[in-house]
C-alpha cells in the first residue's frame, strides 16, 4: 500500500493508495488539517469523505456514479466557467486596490483610440499604468498614446473601478456599458454622470 505524493507543488499534496479488491483512494490535504478522501471503486462509484483531523474518522459526504462524478469533476475543474478571467491576471496591492492585466480584443472600445479619447480615468476611475505592444512595453503612457487590439493594458484601481474599466472598454462587440447601468458612448464623450471635468 504505497502512499505517494502525486503533486507536491505549493502546499497541495494528493496521496494515492491502492485498496485491493475495492479500488483506489486519494487523499487531498485541504491545508487546515482536514482532508478530503475520495474512494474510487473498481465499479466506477466515487465516495467522497471528509476527515476533520488526523485522528478523526472519515465522515462520508456523498457518493456519485461514474458519469455523474465525471460531470461534477469537469465543473470543479472550471471547464464551464472560469471565475478568474482567462484574459486577465490580477494582483491585490493592499486594501481594495488591485493591479490587473487585460488583453484588448478586436473591436473593443479601447482599440485604436488614445487614452485621452477614451477618457479612461474620468469615466471609470481606473488608471492605465502600462501598455504592452508585442515585445514593447510603454510604462506610464502619455494620454495621447494609442492602444490597439492585441495589446495588453495594465490597470490599477479599486475592484469596482477595474470592473467598470473592463465593462466600458474591453467588450469585443463595442457595446460598452450595456446593462451595466452607466451609459458610456463609444466616442468617449462625457455623458457619464459621475465624470468630472476633462483632465
Amino acid at each position: 500500500m504505497r502512499v505517494a505524493p502525486l503533486d507536491a507543488h505549493d502546499s497541495m499534496t494528493v496521496y494515492e493508495s491502492d485498496l485491493p479488491g475495492v479500488g483506489k483512494k486519494h487523499e487531498i490535504d485541504l491545508g487546515d488539517g482536514t482532508r478530503l478522501v475520495v474512494v474510487t471503486h473498481n465499479t466506477g462509484k466515487r465516495e467522497v469523505f471528509r476527515r476533520a483531523d488526523a485522528d478523526a474518522d472519515a465522515e462520508k459526504l456523498f457518493e456519485l456514479g461514474d458519469d455523474l462524478a465525471r460531470t461534477v469533476g469537469t465543473v470543479l475543474e472550471g471547464a464551464y466557467f472560469q471565475p478568474v478571467r482567462s484574459a486577465g491576471m490580477e494582483t491585490v496591492l493592499g486594501g481594495d486596490t488591485l493591479l490587473e492585466w487585460f488583453a484588448v480584443p478586436d473591436g473593443a472600445t479601447l482599440a485604436d483610440t488614445t487614452l485621452r479619447e477614451a477618457g479612461v480615468r474620468e469615466r471609470t476611475g481606473a488608471s492605465v499604468i502600462a501598455v504592452e505592444h508585442g515585445e514593447e512595453v510603454t510604462g506610464n503612457p502619455h494620454p495621447e498614446d494609442e492602444v490597439h487590439a492585441g495589446d495588453t493594458v495594465v490597470v490599477v484601481g479599486t475592484r469596482q473601478q477595474v470592473d467598470a474599466f473592463e465593462a466600458a472598454f474591453l467588450r469585443a462587440d463595442g457595446a460598452a456599458g450595456e446593462g451595466g447601468g452607466a451609459d458610456h458612448s463609444a466616442d468617449g464623450d462625457a455623458t457619464d454622470p459621475d465624470s468630472d471635468a476633462d483632465a
Binding site: 500500500m1 493508495s17 491502492d18 485498496l19 485491493p20 479488491g21 475495492v22 478522501v37 465499479t43 474518522d57
Partner: protein, 393 residues
C-alpha cells in the same frame, strides 16, 4: 424426496441464495453465512428430514459449486499483484507474518487438542487463519472505514493471506488424500510442479495471454472462463488443487492490461457461482453434526477471535497507526468466511473419517459464528474501544 431434476434444483438454490441475500441487505448480516444457512435449510438434513422436497448435492449442483471455487480463487489471483506486495513488503511482510505466526499455529494446536490428527490439525490451522475478504471488504465499505487509515493494513493483510492460501491449498489438497508418505510426497511434488509451471506461465506470458483473450466483452468472458476451467480441470487431473490453478490463471490475467475489464465483466458470473458454492456447502451440512462439535466450536471461537484482534492490532502498530486505529484493524480481521469453507470442502474428501465428517461441519459452524462476530465487532467498534480504554474523546 430429492428434486431429481437438476434444473429445478439449481433454480431453487438460486432462489434461496437470492432470498438470503435480500435478508442480508435488510439486516446487515453478511451474505456468505446466510447463503450457507439457506443451503442447509433446503438440503437433505432439514427440508429432507422434515419429509419436504429438498435439494441434494447432485452432480449438477456440485459442478457449478466447483466453478464457484475456481472463480473465487481466480478473482483472488486477479487482485493479487506481486509488484504491489513487493512495494509494501517491509511493513506488510511484518504485519502478515504476525498474522500467520499467531493464527495458523493456534488453529493447528486446537486441532491436535481436539484429537483430529495431523492432517485435521493442518486443515484447522487454515480454517482459523484465513480472514474473509468478501465479508470484511463489504463491511469496510458499508461502515466507511475504507476511507480511514486502518483500511490499508486490513486490505494489505488480506492480500498477503491470499498468497499464503494459494500455497496452503496446494499443500492441503495433496495432503488430504492421505495414503503412505511416499505416494503423498509424489502427489505433493506433482501438484507443486504443475502449479509452478502455471505460475511461471502466468508471470511471463502476459503479452500472448492478453492477445489471446482480448475481444468483445463476450469474447473476453468466454475465453477467460475457458482458460480458467481448462487449467483447473487439468490441475484436478494431475492431483493438484483446481482452486490454486484458478488463482494462478487469475494472477496471469491480472498482469495484463485486460485486468479491469475481466474483473468487471466476470464479477457477476463469479457472484452467481460463488453463491451456489456457499449454498452447496450448506446442502452437505448436517446441523446435528454442527451441534455435536459445539464444544470445540465454542473453544475455537473464544480463543481465535481475540487472537485475530491481537495479531491484527500488532499489524496496525507495524503500520504506525495509533492504538485506537490498530484495535480497529484487529477487529476488522475477525470475520472468517469463504476460504475457511473452501478448506472445509477439501476436508470432506479425506479418507480419515475424523477429518471428513467433523471438520466440514465444524468449519460451517465456525464461519457462521466468526462472520457474524466479525461484522458485529466492526459495527460495535466504538463501544469496544471505550471498553478497552482507547476510544476517541
Amino acid at each position: 424426496m430429492a428434486a431429481e431434476n437438476g434444473l429445478l434444483a439449481l433454480g431453487v438454490l438460486f432462489g434461496v441464495v437470492a432470498a438470503a441475500g435480500a435478508v442480508g441487505r435488510r439486516t446487515g448480516v453478511p451474505a456468505v453465512p446466510l447463503y450457507v444457512l439457506g443451503g442447509v435449510v433446503v438440503g437433505p438434513y432439514v427440508a429432507g428430514a422434515a419429509g419436504l422436497p429438498y435439494v441434494s448435492d447432485s452432480e449438477t449442483v456440485t459442478v457449478l459449486a466447483e466453478v464457484g471455487v475456481v472463480l473465487l480463487l481466480f478473482f483472488l489471483g486477479l487482485e493479487f499483484s506481486l509488484d504491489r506486495l513487493l512495494a509494501a513488503r517491509r511493513r506488510l511482510s511484518a504485519a502478515a507474518g504476525v498474522d500467520l505466526l499467531v493464527n495458523f499455529p493456534l488453529g493447528v494446536a486446537l486441532g491436535l487438542l481436539f484429537g483430529w490428527g495431523p492432517v485435521g490439525a493442518f486443515l484447522l490451522g487454515g480454517v482459523v487463519y484465513v480472514s474473509s475478504s468478501a465479508v470484511i471488504t463489504k463491511s469496510l465499505v458499508d461502515l466507511g472505514w475504507i476511507a480511514d487509515p486502518e483500511a490499508e493494513p486490513v486490505l494489505g493483510t488480506l492480500v498477503a493471506e491470499d498468497l499464503v492460501v494459494a500455497v496452503y491449498l496446494a499443500l492441503a489438497s495433496a495432503l488430504v488424500l492421505g495414503g503412505d508418505p511416499a505416494s503423498a510426497a509424489v502427489r505433493v511434488g506433482v501438484a507443486l510442479a504443475f502449479l509452478v509451471v502455471v505460475a511461471a506461465l502466468a508471470q511471463f506470458g502476459a503479452r500472448p495471454l492478453a492477445r489471446a483473450l482480448d475481444g468483445s466483452d463476450e469474447d473476453l468472458v468466454l475465453r477467460t472462463m475457458a482458460l480458467a476451467l481448462v487449467v483447473a480441470g487439468l490441475a484436478l487431473a494431475v492431483g493438484a488443487s483446481e482452486g490454486v490453478a484458478g488463482f494462478f490463471v487469475g494472477v496471469g490475467v491480472g498482469a495484463t492490461p485486460l485486468h479491469d475489464r475481466v474483473a468487471e465483466t466476470l464479477a457477476p458470473v463469479r457472484d452467481a457461482v460463488a453463491a451456489v458454492f456457499f449454498a452447496w456447502v450448506g446442502l452437505r451440512t448436517d446441523p446435528a453434526l454442527v451441534v455435536a462439535v459445539a464444544g470445540p466450536l465454542a473453544v475455537a471461537a473464544v480463543v481465535t477471535g481475540p487472537a485475530k484482534v491481537l495479531s491484527g492490532a500488532v499489524g496496525g502498530r507495524l503500520y504506525d497507526l495509533p492504538r485506537r486505529r490498530s484495535l480497529r484493524t484487529g477487529l476488522a480481521l475477525v470475520a472468517r468466511g469463504e476460504f475457511s469453507l473452501v478448506i472445509a470442502a477439501l476436508a470432506a474428501a479425506s479418507p480419515d473419517p475424523r477429518v471428513a465428517a467433523t471438520l466440514p461441519a465444524f468449519a460451517v459452524g465456525y464461519v457462521l459464528v466468526m462472520a457474524l462476530a466479525g461484522t458485529l465487532a466492526m459495527s460495535e467498534a466504538a463501544r469496544i474501544e471505550r471498553l478497552l480504554g482507547v476510544g476517541a474523546d
